[in-house]
Amino acid sequence: MATVKDRAPGPADSGLNDDIGENKRLQLYRTQVTIREAEQRAFDLFLQNLVKGTSHLSLGQEAVAAGFAGAMIKGDLSFCTYRGHAHTLARGVPVEKVLGELMQRDNGLMRGKGGSMHLTSVEHGVMGSYAIIGAHLPIACGAAWRAQYKGAKDVSVCFFGDGTTNIGAFHEALNFAAVWKLPVIFVCENNLYMEYTPIADVTAVEHPAADRASAYGLERIVIDGNDADAVYRTAKTAYDKARAGNGPSLIECMTYRHSGHSRADPAKYRPEGELERWKQRDPIKIYRERLLQFGVAEKVIADIDASVRKVVDDATEACKAAPNPPLDIITTDVYADGGWAWRN
């Protein structure tokens, strides 16, 4: 697998290698724009007090979600963190379902029982968003173990942030997956910050995920996480390897979140100019340029932008009009019998 050295922000340079094709590129673009618009809307709705609780946005990290989801096939499984809106949307979960959950309405993905940090849509292969750092890496291993045991060809893909690389479950899962040769892909979205503290300040190695790969006999892979084509190509190679029975991959995607860690965090801990430099490498800006380079008409791009905007607008209105969840769901689905009885 090609190892792309990460670099300081510079121009998009993935090249005019048309191994991806226009249809896939337009899909990757649409996914990124959908995430951008939905996340921006979530932020606006939060400021209006319509998104309640907390929310962790992926503004600026859209290419990772789009690239990995774009290379999946039906049946592949996504395991996300609380910063999971992007990965949920990227699997095709309707915007209304996601915004509805963020707004804690009855039309939400889990009718308000899970909230922003736990988006789950089993029918779309989104096997949950986990809010305890590291918890889902072993869980993804288990889903991959099932595939291996059953001879199924699906791959489990587990997304997490740079901060996860310093928790025990990360290391337990990597060793476990490597020893059992499981069809699982570990994707670290390195956005340079945990919550407020730079990952570099608290980590012994430069690349918190990739520099640990050798400890588990895995290849060191660092890629440009803001270039959806680079992400897509890397994902495809890793999925092929997993499906062929050749075990797990650990991929570190260099990216940057344009917003704060959560809610209205203004991210004042970032040095001056850093955000602006990364915005020069905004994944959506990069991808628009890429499409133009490949001869896609401006109108085609504008039509995608407009249609996504309409989807998000319609979803917003539907969510605003949706009722609150009824109180009678408070006690449903604690146990498999549908109820909550712990005694006779």
């Binding site: 986990y130 288990g142 991959a144 045991y149």
Partner: protein, 326 residues
């Protein structure tokens, strides 16, 4: 009918379920080639092969997470955590992941798995390998919690746990592994959430779990023979779901309640039972309910010290006599 040890009953119960359902898989530390550190899983690797019976690294979070991921996607895993004390290093799965995934996903995610573990004192292992942690598990909505006291119950409740669609914590008592009991031939399947009256009586109700059941029975025989007190002894077996009807029915008959708990005192399961009885059967009681527990201390290692802190038949006899004034 055959006489079987509690230890061999574990292997038989797992084998019964693995033979029945190819989706039942088993993982844990030293469980396959070594047959378990308590030798309770001997022969399973040979019978079911390395794809279904798997040794893991010493990675309790990986064991628990892998069991959950497999359960979510269609398998019926049995995971072993060698000592229940080690729940503390993988408690996220017990407290946050297994029991909440169904609820948070509004019923989309299932988690049909069993975690087996060696629980309880008597081996002189000290404070980090001897605890009774049933109360750690009982307090979490979404889990089921079972603790068998006989070889027969090991097989029947383990089968019920494997077939149950919810996550079940299955607490085997380390000091019971060598005990023996009669077990019929053929398939054995019990029902979760059912307590068992193991000795009928009319003067008081003694409720016990796991190792404490045999001690309560011994105390009951002594109380009858030496003091003319006729105790009813109930083996709770399943803390969640809890068979309160059997308990309330017994208290309505005997009018006195004692619980015998190996766990440290605060928030022990007996407190919940006493609370239920106080709420719902207060006027059936002729005297205060009494909890007999291990004191609220870490467990000491030395045999003479450990023996002094766990409830014993003599302590049960003394406590019942003093409370009943007999």
């Amino acid at each position: 009918m055959a006489e079987l040890t509690y230890r061999d009953a574990v292997a038989r119960g797992i084998a019964q379920e693995m033979a029945r359902d190819p989706d039942v898989v088993f993982l844990g530390e030293d469980v396959a080639k070594a047959g378990g550190v308590f030798k309770s899983t001997v022969g399973l690797l040979e019978q079911f092969g390395p794809l279904r019976v798997r040794d893991t690294p010493i990675s309790e979070q990986a064991i628990m997470g892998a069991a959950m991921g497999a359960a979510m996607t269609g398998l019926k895993p049995i995971a072993e955590i060698m000592f229940s004390d080690f729940f503390a290093v993988c408690f996220d799965y017990i407290a946050n992941e297994f029991p909440k995934s169904r609820y948070m996903s509004n019923g989309q995610v299932k988690c049909p798995l069993v975690v087996r573990t060696g629980n309880g004192a008597g081996s002189r292992f000290g404070a980090q390998h001897s605890q009774s942690v049933e109360n750690w598990c009982m307090m979490i909505p979404g889990l089921k919690v079972v603790a068998p006291s006989t070889p027969l119950d090991v097989i029947g409740l383990l089968a019920a746990a494997v077939r149950d669609p919810d996550p079940v914590i299955f607490l085997e008592h380390k000091s019971l592994y060598a005990t023996k009991g009669e077990v019929p031939d053929g398939e054995i399947v019990d029902t979760l959430g059912t307590a068992k009256i193991v000795r009928p009586g009319k003067d008081c109700t003694i409720i016990a779990l796991a190792l404490m059941v045999s001690r309560a029975l011994e105390a009951a025989e002594k109380l009858k023979a030496e003091h003319g007190v006729d105790c009813e002894v109930i083996d709770v077996r399943s803390l969640v779901p809890l068979d309160t009807q059997t308990i309330l029915g017994s208290v309505a008959k005997t009018h006195r309640l004692f619980t015998v708990e190996e766990n440290p005192r605060l928030c022990g399961w007996g407190a919940e039972i006493v609370s239920i009885v106080a709420d719902e059967a207060f006027y059936d009681l002729d005297g205060p309910p009494v909890r007999i527990t291990t004191p609220h201390i870490p467990l000491p290692a030395a045999d003479i010290l450990e023996d002094a802190v766990l409830p014993t038949p003599d302590r049960i006899v003394d406590t019942v006599r003093r409370s009943l004034g007999s």
